[in-house]
């Protein structure tokens, strides 16, 4: 035997029987490796995952992230699932590429896509039609429920989101759905989804419900735009009128102030004039009281001096001609004019 062994210098055994034994050992070893890796006593759970451990089909425990020991297959099997990741279902559009900073995402939208339009088109509560897009974000809140209660969990969430969106939109009038009550509708969709997820035992938590777009259909969008234009025009008219109003009011205020100020001026003038005049009179009166007769005559003479040079005078001698005097007395003004030349 010894010389035969010494011949065996290569890695592969030369003798057929030994070679056969080597191959079967290798086969068993490989089987063990496969078993160890795929069904063996260790399993690892990633940071964002949880695992359900089933012992002969029976639920045993839920484990968190890390490397864990288990009984090898077929005794214990493990189901792992990401639980921290937020999943989303989209109704009326699909995200093809979410986009990065500086690069917009790409979407399938109902505007270009008939399939999406079918999803997005829905009736409102007043029998009008709108196109709506919804995003629902959800997360597995209880992995055991998620796995044990519903078979096609994510499909179910998708269908639910679609049904609930339509049901809620169908309970609002078109103007409410388009503009006014978006938050209200989102809250209602969310409440309803939570209620149904609970009813079905989906084991998910609704993280967020967002109505992305609610728009009138293309066929009538021009009429809707026209309303917006009319609204704007109406607003413009209002603004114009308000402008005129403020201008006019300011003008009137200015004018009123002018009148009041002028009146104040006139009032002051009048009082001052009165004071001035009376002061002058009182001074004069003082002098007059000292020598009444002389002052009286002086005032008379001064007045005449001021008056006489300015006026036209026709001097008539009463003794000269009675006829002339009579004529002048009978015919008042023309006679005066006639005598002008005689000055």
């Amino acid at each position: 035997m010894a010389p035969m062994d010494s011949r065996n210098v290569g890695l592969l055994p030369q003798e057929p029987a030994t070679r056969y034994r080597f191959y079967s050992a290798l086969f068993v070893f490989l089987c063990l490796v496969v078993w160890f890796v795929w069904g063996g006593p260790f399993y690892s759970v990633a940071q964002d995952e949880q695992a359900l451990v089933l012992t002969l089909g029976t639920y045993t425990k839920t484990t968190g992230p890390g490397l864990h020991f288990k009984w090898p297959w077929p005794v214990q099997t493990v189901v792992t699932e990401t639980v921290t990741r937020v999943r989303s279902v989209e109704v009326g559009f699909r995200t093809i590429h979410p986009g990065r900073p500086g690069q917009p995402g790409r979407y399938r939208e109902f505007k270009e896509d008939r399939e999406m339009l079918k999803e997005a088109k829905m009736l409102t509560g007043d029998e009008n039609i709108v196109n709506a897009e919804l995003v629902t974000m959800y997360k597995i809140s209880n992995l055991r429920d998620y796995y044990f209660n519903v078979e096609a969990q994510d499909d179910t969430v998708r269908i639910l989101a679609e049904a609930v969106l339509r049901q809620v939109v169908a309970d609002y009038g078109i103007d409410d759905a388009l503009i006014r009550t978006r938050m209200e509708m989102e809250a209602e969709i969310r409440t309803k989804l939570i209620e149904l997820a609970q009813l079905y035992g989906l084991g998910i938590g609704i993280e967020d419900v967002k109505l992305q777009q609610v728009q009138p259909p293309d066929d009538v969008s021009s009429a809707f735009k026209e309303v917006a234009t009319a609204k704007e025009e109406s607003q413009k008219l209002f603004n114009e009128a308000e402008g005129v109003r403020s201008e006019k009011t300011l003008q009137a205020k200015g004018e009123a102030n002018r009148i009041v100020f002028a009146a104040r001026g006139m009032a002051a003038e009048r009082v001052n004039l009165a004071t001035g005049e009376t002061n002058r009179f009182l001074k004069l009166l003082e002098e007059y009281k000292k020598a009444p007769d002389v002052t009286r005559e002086r005032l008379y003479q001064e007045t005449l001096q001021r008056v006489m040079p300015k006026i036209k005078k026709v001097l008539v001698d009463p003794t000269a001609g009675i006829l002339n005097v009579n004529r002048l007395e009978n015919i008042a003004v023309p006679a005066v004019t006639a005598t002008e030349g005689g000055r």
């Binding site: 056969y20 079967s24 089933l54 002969l56 089909g57 029976t58 077929p74 829905m122 009736l123 509560g125 007043d126 029998e127 009008n128 044990f148 209660n149 078979e151 049904a163 339509r166 049901q167 169908a170 609002y172 078109i174 009813l199 079905y200 035992g201 009138p216 259909p217 066929d219 809707f224 309303v227 009319a230 025009e233 109406s234 008219l237 209002f238 009128a241 006019k248 009137a252 004018e255 002018r258 009148i259 009041v260 009146a263 009032a267 009048r270 004039l273 009376t278 002061n279 009179f281 009166l285 009281k289 008379y300 005449l304 300015k310 006026i311 036209k312 026709v314 001097l315 001698d317 009463p318």
Partner: protein
């Protein structure tokens, strides 16, 4: 010799494995299992549904029924079970809820309108034996569900008005584009869904299925009616546009009129104030004059007369004076 022994060993191992595989089976948490011998059930394993006590209770009823009949063994919950190898077969059924989608169809409503409906339901196998005997598998179940959902839904829909199917709740008031309240409905989609679910649930127990919920996924107008809706919508919007324009003009006129009123008010208030000021000044001046002139009424009259005389004899006044009066007497003296 060596090799032959080993081959025999391998064959034995394989045989042992096959025997084990044939004689026991594992039922997982979300499964029912039925063991049959030549097509007859000998053992039924019902799921325990640990996460839903309500369904577990329903399954307990089924379990009780099976036990009473006593034809086969009944077990409950996941785990390892045994069967006679080779002559008994085991069949597994999902105990989890399954999604059923109906596809779309048109139904005529109670108010003679066509409605385009798409529905879905969640259902689970509650009695695997009955399920297997009546519908065999999921495909068979689909067919029956189609029939249940369609017939029950049509039954309700033909008795309801179009808007009762569309609208969710009967309590909410909807303000239409005209700004009026939409006609309230007596029943809403929720009521109809509840009724249909109830009816379907009752029917589906015949095939061992428990229906969790039947819902309307879509309730739309058929394609051919959409055009009419679009026309009506456009008409409504045109009317609104007109209304906005007319409102704009009306508001403008109102504001301008109001502006006029305000301007006049402000101006006249100014005038009123001015008159008041002037009145006060007049009064004050009159007081001043009266106070001063009443000191010597006779002298006042005299000076005022002189003033009046001076003022009234303007430049172009002509006077005819007698030479025998006043200062002009002096002329006569000279003669």
């Amino acid at each position: 010799m060596h090799a032959l022994k080993e081959i025999l060993f391998v064959i034995l191992v394989i045989l042992a494995l096959v025997l084990v595989e044939e004689s026991c089976f594992v039922v997982t948490e979300w499964e029912h299992a039925v063991v049959t011998r030549f097509g007859n059930p000998v053992k039924v394993v019902l799921a325990r549904v640990m996460t839903r006590p309500d369904y577990a209770a329903r399954l307990a009823l089924v379990e009780g029924e099976f036990k009473k009949s006593g034809v086969f063994t009944v077990r409950r919950g996941p785990g390892v079970y045994f069967k006679t190898p080779f002559i008994e077969r085991v069949k597994f059924f999902e105990s989890r809820a399954n999604l059923y989608m109906s596809g779309t169809y048109d139904i005529v409503t109670g108010d003679k309108k066509k409605i385009h409906l798409d529905n879905f339901a969640l259902w689970r196998i509650e009695n695997p034996l009955l399920f297997w005997q009546t519908v065999q598998d999921d495909f068979g179940a689909r067919g029956r569900l189609d029939a249940f959902v369609f017939s029950n839904l049509r039954n309700k829909v033909t008795k309801s008005d179009f808007m009762e199917i569309v609208r969710t709740s009967k309590t909410r008031t909807i303000i239409t584009a005209e700004g009026k309240e939409a006609k309230p409905v007596e029943r809403g989609r929720e009521d109809i869904q509840r009724d249909v679910t109830e009816a379907c649930r009752k029917a589906a127990t015949q095939v061992g299925i428990h229906i969790l919920d039947v819902r309307i996924r879509k309730a739309d107008l058929p394609q051919e009616n959409e055009l009419a809706v679009y026309q009506r919508m456009a008409e409504e919007r045109r009317r609104m546009s007109k209304q906005y324009r007319a409102d704009g003009l009306r508001v403008k006129a109102e504001i301008l009129g109001d502006a006029e009123r305000e301007a006049r008010l402000v101006r006249s208030q100014g005038e009123k104030e001015a008159q008041k000021i002037m009145g006060a000044a007049d009064a004050e001046a009159t007081g001043i004059y009266a106070q001063a002139y009443s000191q010597d009424k006779e002298f006042y009259t005299y000076t005022k007369s002189l003033e009046t005389l001076e003022k009234s004899l303007a430049t172009d006044t002509s006077l005819i004076l007698g030479l025998d009066k006043g200062i002009f007497r002096l002329i006569k003296i000279k003669e």
